[in-house]
């Protein structure tokens, strides 16, 4: 689908802060399932936004503000064309070896036991991944939120979590099965309410590559998933990380608007 995306993040502070530093992963990187026709990231008050690539190949903007500062508004907007590629993320700039994505997840014993039980004797890796996604979709209730994720063991015990929490549990389950897995953050283009950001997991299969699995929704990413960044865990792929100096409380509001979603030309031709 072709969509005009506009995301606004407004961070306001309970009292003026001395300074603020931010790292933003709000720029989608094109791959086989995504054309980025136009993209813009801006910040208000105006500051130098330095664009770089992080250790995973994500596009990162960083900026710093000197205070006193009451509010920062971040805008990320552009025109993208997504294609349903059955969740396969091919054509990205892969900078890290698979071993990195096999790092055992902390406190994941319960999840590992659950994964082993659900999978029984299934041998085929792709089938195992689909089974895991379905089992966790069944077990964990999706409660949209943009809050920082809790530890996976807590989420698993609680039986409910945000998309990013469920994605972390799925990553832990995949790694427990010795399958390279990583965390992906992104946006949903179908106008779902509740949270601006979405998240899912990607797992690696020989001969195919990285494939996305979304246990919050229960299916592999489609053309409604706009991929922003990936990492070993949430914090390496977080859309925004910020720190302020001073004791102010930060309140963050986000607005995501998707418009002019017309059929992409290549779909019409098919």
């Amino acid at each position: 689908m072709r969509a005009r995306v506009s995301l606004q993040i407004e961070a306001s502070y309970s009292e003026p802060t001395r300074s603020a530093n931010q790292v933003l992963r709000l720029t989608p990187r094109p791959f086989d399932g995504l054309h980025v026709l136009d993209w813009f990231v801006g910040v208000e008050p105006v500051a130098t936004l330095r664009r770089s690539e992080d250790g995973f190949g994500n596009i990162v903007h960083s900026c710093s503000h000197a205070g006193p500062l009451e509010k920062i508004v971040i805008t990320a907007e552009g025109l993208v064309e997504t294609q349903d590629v059955a969740g396969v993320a091919r054509g990205l700039n892969e900078k890290q070896p698979l071993d990195l994505f096999l790092r055992p997840h902390e406190d994941a014993e319960e999840i590992a036991a659950f994964a082993a039980k659900e999978l029984g004797g299934e041998k085929d890796r792709l089938s195992r991944l689909h089974l895991l996604m379905a089992a966790l979709h069944e077990k964990l209730n999706h409660a949209p939120s943009d809050a920082a994720p809790r530890p996976v063991a807590d989420v698993f015990a609680d039986g409910e979590g945000s998309a990013r929490e469920i994605a972390q549990v799925l990553v832990a389950a995949m790694r427990a099965q010795d399958i390279p897995a990583r965390f992906v953050s992104g946006l949903l283009l179908d106008g779902a309410e509740g949270a601006a950001f979405h998240a899912w997991a990607e797992a690696y299969i020989d001969d195919i590559g990285w494939i996305g699995f979304d246990a919050a929704l229960g299916f592999c990413p489609r053309d409604t998933h706009l991929r922003l960044a990936h990492g070993v865990g949430f914090f390496g792929a977080a859309p925004r990380r910020a720190a302020i100096s001073g004791y102010a409380e930060e309140k963050v509001e986000k607005r995501l608007t998707i418009s002019a979603a017309r059929q992409a030309s290549w779909q019409i031709q098919q």
Binding site: N21, Q22, D54, S62, L102, G236
Partner: protein, 475 residues
Amino acid sequence: MSQFFDEMTNGATEPRPLYDRIAEWLRVSPPALLDSRREQAEILFRKIGITFAVYGDKEAAERLIPFDIIPRLLGRDEWTRLEAGLIQRVKALNMFLTDIYGRQDILRAGIVPSDLIFRNECYRPEMQGHSAPHDIWTHIAGIDIVRIDEEDFYVLEDNCRTPSGVSYMLEDREMMMRLLPGLFSQHAVLPVDNYPDNLLASLRSVAPPHCPGDPCIIILTPGQFNSAYYEHSFLADKLGVELVEGRDLTVRDDVVYMRTTEGLKRVDVIYRRVDDDFLDPLVFRPDSALGVAGLMGAYLAGNVTLANAPGAGVADDKAVYTYMPDIIRFYLGEEAKLKNVRTWRCREPDSLKYVLEHLSELVVKEVNGSGGYGMLVGPHASKEQIETFRQKLLSDPDGFIAQPTLSLSTCPTSFPGGVAPRHVDLRPFVLSSADGARIVPGGLTRVALKEGSLVVNSSQGGGTKDTWVLATNAK
């Protein structure tokens, strides 16, 4: 008794020539003199306030590390051999880190297994593709050395992150010169007091290229609750640089500034004693209050040098240690001058089998542990401890290595009412800079004060001794 190499007597009745004067001094000094010197030392240390916090011990939150007044001696010939080995090793460690975060030749050559590197928490993907200024990653390295006979030095452990202990090396020397000036002047002891000058010169040499003339160097400490806070303030004082905490720094547009009474001042080189995990809440642990937001951005932009470089910890992993002889051969085309202790990698099934069968004879260490925490000393462990470790090993074999119980050398050590041999190790400090390596002749000698104990870590009841490298040869 004879199973250990005693550095004074080597099992004979006569001392080794190196120790002639020490032996004579011990023979003629009345026990009361040694006792009073030892008490004076403790009073002085307490006055200076050299303390050390032991984690997990509420009773003794701040403790004095016991100091032994009998010096440990090395001959010039022994030191020369040791020094050459240390320089070789640290050079290889820096080349290894440059390679791991760069072309990864050593992994492609199959010398070191890649899962060992990438599954290690200390490998920082954020650093991939970046080079450290002047290709120096471990500006300050502490290499733990043990002796088991008159000839060979063995490396027990490499410390590439933020090794501590150098303040004890310097303070112990001052203490000896003060308490036993007579004994000191009878020996031609090579000086260690130029360490702060060397450290400053090393840090200067790695300043970013933009930096005009005199770079602004600071020491970043986690604060007064850190176990080595005394050392941080001691070094800042000796180097004549500012000691700062994370909250004293701010990053604007990839440049690090220090808040001073005269406004912001640009910082060029940071000797950081804060662990990687806590360096920058925007890149590493988000809950860190000890670091500086944006510091990694400034570092990667080349506007500030961090010593030691983030990600250097992947080289001092105990599992990587076992590959050090191969690593040295690969980069330098030389054989390692310092030996490695025989080590079983529990990740290899055959080794694991051997280790499980010989748990009561071996020392088992966590690959990522430090400070003597989380290790099993087989011969001194109870049956329950061995069983607990067996379970740990079985559930996570990759997380452990095992070594034989080493017959660490002993040195005479003074106690109330007498002198007895105790096991020692040595931690020399190697400084790497743009213009080569610097080592002062000496290091921190740690001594296990409990009879028969082989654990010298200060967190586990070890003490320190002054290390005298003499201008004369041992042989």
